[in-house]
């Protein structure tokens, strides 16, 4: 009998030791390091607000990188993280009530694109339910879409920006003031993109205030490039304010526009031979280009619809001298009755026109108009980009690109040197820098995340590329997956600079593009 008890005891031990247990809990090594996440406040613009697909929506906002960061901070003593209320957006459409077409962008699988393929990008059907009803409340996420660096300190900025109008604590509140009312112990600050991006996305129609030497932002138009000295001074104020109560934080550099799909998706030579050959006026168009090649001293290249290579669009370059008179004279002397009849029109249309080159960037908005008939011009001079030069707002020419890259470099130098100065003064890391410019630049060659998946900046190119896209359909803002990548880069900086140990988000599990069978 004794042996029986031993056997039973052995069985009992077997059962008891059956539960598999790890040597340590999954959360055992997580730590806040030198940081204190008890009150985390995010300052910034649309990128911080969780803006994607051309709007902030109720669901989209939950994927903002500050919200994703806060989820990880919560593991190591992070406090509650609040974001401006979008509870009104019951159908998750984004936009603003009363503004048709302001809803979030989706792919409509059955809708035709300009090039004949299906899957056009369009605002999701339905009317937005987001109102400007004041919430009069400060939130942890103080990302305000559209905000430039100098906007954060403007009293009554809500009058200029409907997003801030929704939650400004008072009619005269500043974004920074509301942020400080949350008494941050930790902050992220990603402001400054709009100081150059508004100019870039508008195709450079604004004023480069660096070239103009204008440091007074109250005189700036929305599409202007902020003067770098102005940026430096404003940014310094923001960082000093955020750190004034001993908070630590991360500042993010400004990505170069050449890495975002808004400027890389449409090529300078997007017109395939076949599309041209299909045009009933192709003979006329070809001879027009031959004439223009001669009359513009080669600014416009002859078309070649047989070489298998796509053809460049023609654009208006306001930096060129006006050859209108010469073109008109050439037309009158050509002996061709059509050219003679349109001599002055040709001079007006093509005086500053040239064929685009690989040094020009065509904005994403142009994709829907290139090759389309423009009713504002007479036939056959009315085919956008083919016989009608694309206007300034659709093209960034090299001089504009230089203005943009110079400004971006100057801003990023300011951000880094302001952070360095802070840290040097404190003798430790107070403000860490997340070099978003360097990270997003990697997208050009493909960003490989921790699981091995490779993401590229490719604008949504059909479902075949869906899994690789980190940008939303507006071509400027990341999608949810892209925000997860950004959150991870900031986490890595925090882990390194503040000796913290925070887990990453797995971008693979975040949604990309929203495709609907019909819209």
């Amino acid at each position: 009998m004794k042996n029986k008890f031993i056997a039973l005891a052995a069985l009992a031990i077997g059962f008891a030791s059956c539960e598999p247990e790890f040597e340590k809990e999954v959360t055992a090594d997580y730590s806040a390091g030198e940081a204190d996440f008890s009150s985390y406040v995010a300052v910034g613009n649309s990128l911080t607000a969780g803006f994607m697909d051309n709007t902030v929506s109720r669901v989209g906002q939950t994927y903002s990188y500050p919200n994703l960061l806060a989820q990880q901070f919560a593991l190591v003593g992070g406090g509650a993280f609040t974001q401006p209320s979008f509870a009104e957006d019951v159908n998750n459409l984004g936009g603003f009530a009363g503004q048709p077409g302001s809803t979030r962008l989706v792919i409509d699988a059955t809708q035709l694109n300009a090039d004949g393929t299906r899957g056009a990008v369009e605002p999701i059907a339905g009317a937005s339910t987001i109102t400007l009803t004041p919430q009069a409340k400060a939130y942890n996420n103080m990302g305000v879409p559209g905000a430039k660096s100098f906007h954060l300190g403007i009293q009554g900025y809500g009058a200029l920006n409907p997003y801030f109008a929704r939650h400004a604590t008072t009619p005269t509140a500043t974004v920074l003031g509301d942020a400080m009312s949350k008494a941050p112990t930790f902050f992220t600050n990603w402001i400054g993109s709009n100081d150059v991006l508004a100019y870039a996305t508008s195709g450079g129609v604004g004023v480069d205030q660096n070239a103009a030497g204008n440091t007074n932002p109250t005189t700036y138009g929305f599409n202007d490039i902020t003067n770098a000295n102005t940026f430096n001074s404003v940014y310094s104020t923001i960082v000093n304010t955020l750190t004034s109560n001993g908070a630590k934080g991360v500042v993010c550099t400004i990505p170069s526009v050449t890495s975002i799909p808004f400027f890389t998706t449409v090529k300078y030579n997007p017109i395939p031979d076949a599309a041209l050959s299909a045009n009933p006026n192709i003979a006329l168009i070809t001879s027009l280009h031959q004439f223009l090649a001669l009359a513009t001293n080669g600014r416009i290249s002859p078309l070649n619809v047989a070489d298998g290579l796509p053809n460049a669009v023609i654009i208006n370059d306001e930096t060129l001298s006006d050859l209108g008179t010469q073109i008109t004279a050439f037309a009158n002397g050509s002996g061709n009755p059509i050219l003679i009849a349109n001599a002055s029109t040709l001079g007006n249309l093509y005086g500053r026109a040239r064929s685009a080159t690989s040094s020009d960037l065509i904005v994403l908005r142009a994709s829907s108009i290139i090759g389309q008939v423009n009713t504002s011009a007479p036939a056959p001079f009315n085919v956008n980009g083919v016989t009608l030069p694309l206007s300034d707002q659709f093209v960034l020419i090299p001089s504009e690109l230089t203005a943009i890259s110079n400004a971006t470099a100057a801003y990023n130098n300011s951000i880094i040197s302001i952070a360095d100065a802070k840290n040097a003064a404190a003798g430790k890391t107070v403000v860490a820098v997340a070099d978003m410019n360097a990270i997003l630049a990697k997208l050009v060659s493909g960003l490989k995340i921790e699981t091995g998946s490779i993401y590229t900046a490719n604008y949504f190119g059909g479902s075949a590329t869906e899994g690789q896209v980190l940008f939303s359909l507006d071509g400027v803002h990341p999608n949810a997956r892209g925000y997860a990548v950004i959150a991870n880069e900031i986490i890595k900086v925090i882990n390194t600079k503040f000796k913290a140990n925070l887990p990453l988000q797995n971008p693979t599990y975040f949604p990309g593009i929203n495709i609907l069978p019909t819209n």
């Binding site: 598999p20 887990p503 069978p517």
Partner: protein, 418 residues
């Protein structure tokens, strides 16, 4: 759009139906209690499985052994990189039935029915590794009519064909990417095949070196389970992709590898018996699991790249008196899964098995057998690095973390003989 979907979205990966981790050896109460040794042990009708040649050395004219186990297999997963945790608790019920009959002095016949592959793993639907497996349930019954010839007093051979009846049910998400999701629930596919038949054989020889020492050698052939015409049903397909993901049938081949076992037993006295077995399993036949859909969906190729694996077994038996016999054993089971191929449908690394048991002899004919098995797994950091995400065209993605498993299995059986 539709075309793009059908071109790119589908490289369905599937699960290991018959993985090394699920070859939990429970083919007889007495032998399990002795570390699942048995190729050179003549103890009961269980020898029909372990080495058919041994049937010739059984003393009694008729031997019957019937038993079953409750198999509790638990696995925990965690990833500190992404703060993920998951758990799966599963119960299996392997059973066995062996009968032998000594027709005359030199020939014995027998029947063996056993379930060497039969287990399930069920993770929470849509868990972090759902793109590799949500759940899998595998059943296979081996039926082996057996015959054994005693060539002379010291040597015998035996063997028989194996007829397998199997079924498998397997569910996984198509991709970790929620683009293919419907109301938050990932698009998944269920592969279901039943009535899979296959054949193989089991042959062995046994040599009585001395009255104390027995040598045995056994070979079980490779068996390819060919699933044909099983159903592949898609669920939670978003409207945009419904044209591509239509329910269909599939074909897949699942190898059960050949296994060779050599062993020795030593009976120094009437009371004591010691045994040692060495198994070598030709797992390298399992290169890849390819699921071929019978519609336009592309074939799903899932590298497995198993390696051949060895198992070392020790067992002892002590007959205390006429009523009680006690047994104990240990074995080391080498996992065939190589680093980087560690998938959550077979979350098994090398393990140490500890076994024990006893027989209570009710009378000279009837005995009651009890056994237990405890499989200990060290926690392991590993990953499956070969998931070809159908929504990307470049890069294989990796899923991994820390795994910890345990298996506990009590069993009961009866032995009857005259």
């Amino acid at each position: 759009m539709r075309k793009l979907f059908s071109l790119s979205l589908l490289t369905l990966a599937s699960a290991t139906m018959f993985a090394g981790g699920y070859r939990v050896s429970i083919q007889g109460q007495k032998q399990l209690a002795m570390g699942h040794t048995g190729v050179a042990v003549v103890n009961s009708a269980e020898v029909a499985f372990f080495n058919p040649a041994g049937m010739s050395f059984l003393d009694k004219k008729f031997n019957l052994s019937v038993g079953g186990n409750a198999l509790f297999a638990k696995t925990r997963f965690q990833s500190s990189q992404f703060n993920q945790t998951a758990a799966t608790d599963n119960v299996g019920t392997p059973f066995s039935l062996y009968a032998t009959y000594k027709i005359n002095d030199w020939v014995s016949a027998g029947l063996a029915v056993y379930t060497p592959y039969g287990s399930s793993v069920e993770w929470n639907q849509d868990w972090a590794g759902a793109h590799l497996v949500n759940n899998i349930d595998l059943q296979a019954i081996f039926i082996q009519p057996t015959i054994s010839f005693k060539i002379e007093d010291k040597f015998s051979i035996g063997g028989g064909p194996i007829f397998v009846q199997g079924s498998v049910n397997f569910n996984r998400n198509l991709t970790p990417n929620p683009v293919l999701s419907n109301n938050g629930s990932g698009t998944d596919v269920t592969l279901d095949a039943s009535g899979i038949s296959a054949t193989g054989y089991n042959i062995g020889m046994m040599f009585k070196l001395t009255n104390q020492v027995m040598l045995g050698l056994d070979y079980r052939s490779e068996i390819i389970m060919e699933a044909r015409g099983g159903s592949a049903n898609f669920a939670d397909v978003p409207a945009i992709a419904s044209a591509s993901f239509t329910n269909t049938t599939f074909s897949a081949d699942l190898p059960l590898p050949a296994e060779i076992t050599a062993g020795i037993s030593y009976r120094p006295t009437d009371k004591w018996l010691f045994a040692f077995d060495y198994n070598y399993t030709k797992w390298d036949v399992y290169k890849s699991l390819d699921v071929d859909f019978d519609n336009t969906l592309p074939t799903s190729v899932n590298p497995r790249n198993y390696k051949n694996a060895s198992t070392y077994r020790l067992g002892a038996q002590y007959q205390a008196n006429d009523k009680f016999t006690f047994r104990a054993g240990w074995y080391f089971d080498e996992s065939p899964v190589q680093d980087g191929y560690f998938a959550p449908e077979t979350p098994r690394n090398d393990s140490n098995g500890y076994t024990g048991g006893l027989t209570y002899q009710v009378n000279s004919k009837l005995g009651i057998d009890l056994s237990f098995l405890y499989l200990h797994f060290d926690q392991v950091d590993n990953s499956y690095d070969y998931f070809d995400d159908p929504t990307t065209t470049t890069g294989l993605s990796s899923f991994g973390g820390t795994y910890k498993s345990s298996v506990f299995s009590p069993g009961i059986g009866i032995t009857y003989g005259f």
